[in-house]
Each structure stands twice: as C-alpha cells, then as structure tokens.
Symmetry: C2
Subunit: 147 residues, 2 copies
C-alpha cells in the first residue's frame, strides 16, 4: 500500500502537541490506554493513537480516573461483539452518561453561586458615613455574604 504512514508522530512530537511529558505517554501505554507501534525500540504513534490520546486527556479533565478512561475506551472495542457483551457495554455506557449529567448539574450549581457572588462583589462599595459595605446601586446594606 502506498501511504504506509498517513501520519505518524514521535513521542516528543505528540507530547509537545498535547502539552504532556513523554513520561505521561509511556505511563498511559503502561496502563494499556495506548499501544503505539514500534520501529525498533522507538514508539511510533499514528492518527488513531492521537485521537485516543485526545480522548484520554479530555476524560482526565472531566475527572475520570485512568482506569475509568480505560474502561470507556474498551467500550468501543466490541471485538468479536457477542450479544451479552454488547448489552454490558450499553449499560456501562449509560452509567457513564448518567454520571456526566450529574456532574454537569454540579457544575451548573457551582457556576450559579460563583456568578452570583461575582456580581455581588462587583456591585459592592463602602458607605461614606458608616463605612459598611452597601450595594452600589440600591444602597442597601450587605449584612454578611457567604455560602
């Protein structure tokens, strides 16, 4: 076949692109999350490895452990694709979706509070006479803010 190397990367290229260390890529390989080919000793990553890595890092950013990420990647490998295995995969998948949706709700709640707090303190000023905090527009006093 003509394009034997449609797009390949060295470990340093890939680690630089995603701003992780080579050590991290080797570690992920150790954990079975990546399995680049070898040219002699050296690891040679292809486009699929690159996409997997992006997946891994995004999973990491949303708080999954490497083990969980590994599981999720495995979901995609139905392999021979037996029926029972497919059902298990689907359930696992739905669990993950539930967890992510719950987490998104947590994020929304936290955002709401932070945004409320931010707008509060940006509308805050000192009363000239009493020295206490008041709302800049309404002039209302702010007793005690906090969670």
């Amino acid at each position: 076949m003509a394009n034997d190397r449609s797009h390949n990367y060295s470990i340093k290229q890939l680690s630089a692109e995603f701003d992780v260390t080579p050590r991290t890529l080797r570690y992920y390989e150790d954990q079975g999350l990546l399995s680049p080919e070898r040219r002699g000793q050296q690891r040679i990553y292809n486009a699929a490895d690159r996409i997997r890595l992006a997946w891994i890092l995004r999973g990491r950013r949303v708080g999954f452990s490497l083990a969980e990420i590994g599981e999720m990647l495995d979901l995609y490998d139905l392999g021979d694709g037996r029926e029972t295995q497919r059902a298990v995969t689907l359930n696992r998948c739905k669990e993950r979706i539930k967890a992510l949706e719950a987490q998104r709700e947590d994020i929304n709640a936290t955002l709401t509070e932070l945004q409320g707090f931010a707008s509060l303190i940006s509308n805050l000023t000192r009363d000239h006479e009493t020295g206490k905090w008041i709302h800049a527009e309404t002039g209302e006093p702010v007793a005690h803010f906090g969670p």
Copy 2:
C-alpha cells in the same frame, strides 16, 4: 439567647448524612476547610458548617482539589474587605468561572460522543448471511466504530 443550638450535629451524624467518614471531616478541618466548635474535646458542627461541607463535597465532585476549594471558600471571606483584596477576589472568581465553563464544554463533548455511541450500539444487529454488524433499521453495514 434562647436558641443557642438552632441545629447542631455530631461528627458521626454529619459524616453519615453526607456519606463520608469522620476521618474525612477531621482531615478537612486539618486543612482549614472546616472549623467546628468544641464542647470539651468533641466537635460540634452547626448549620453553617453543614453548608460549607456541602460546598466542599460539590467542589470535590467537579474535580477541584481541596486547596482550590479552600481558596474558593476564602473568596467569600472578604474579611475586612479592603479594596485591592476585593479586586483580587473578583478576578480569582472569574478565573474559576472560566475553568468551570471550559470543563462543562468538555463534559458536553464527551456526552455527545457517548450518547452517539450508545445509540449506535443499541441500533446494531448481526446480518443473517454475512454475520457482520449492520444497522438494525437501515441495514447499512458498520465498518469500524470507535473514537
């Protein structure tokens, strides 16, 4: 004052309610995230402590470190509330908001992929003749799915 203890909790009560161990609560206190009163030796948590704990745990669920959570809680303690300090607080607050919004986007992206994958495999079946995976409705073959 009459209601000296509007609502208080022992360490075991609080830990049971939030499904964490007493050890965890002591650890959070060690890190300065909680500071319940003492009756003699024993810790006695009030309603405010309870709310702080809920905050802490939610922060933990969305992936913040305890140090970051501590910072965020400190944001609420403007204390004497000097002007410069208030500006710093506001900036930190906005940074956190940015980070959370980015994380929410990561979650949305992951959800989209997982949901697409889930619907794919739930619409999947075997072709009677070829034995290959095909779409149950359209009958179209599925070459290779994965990230």
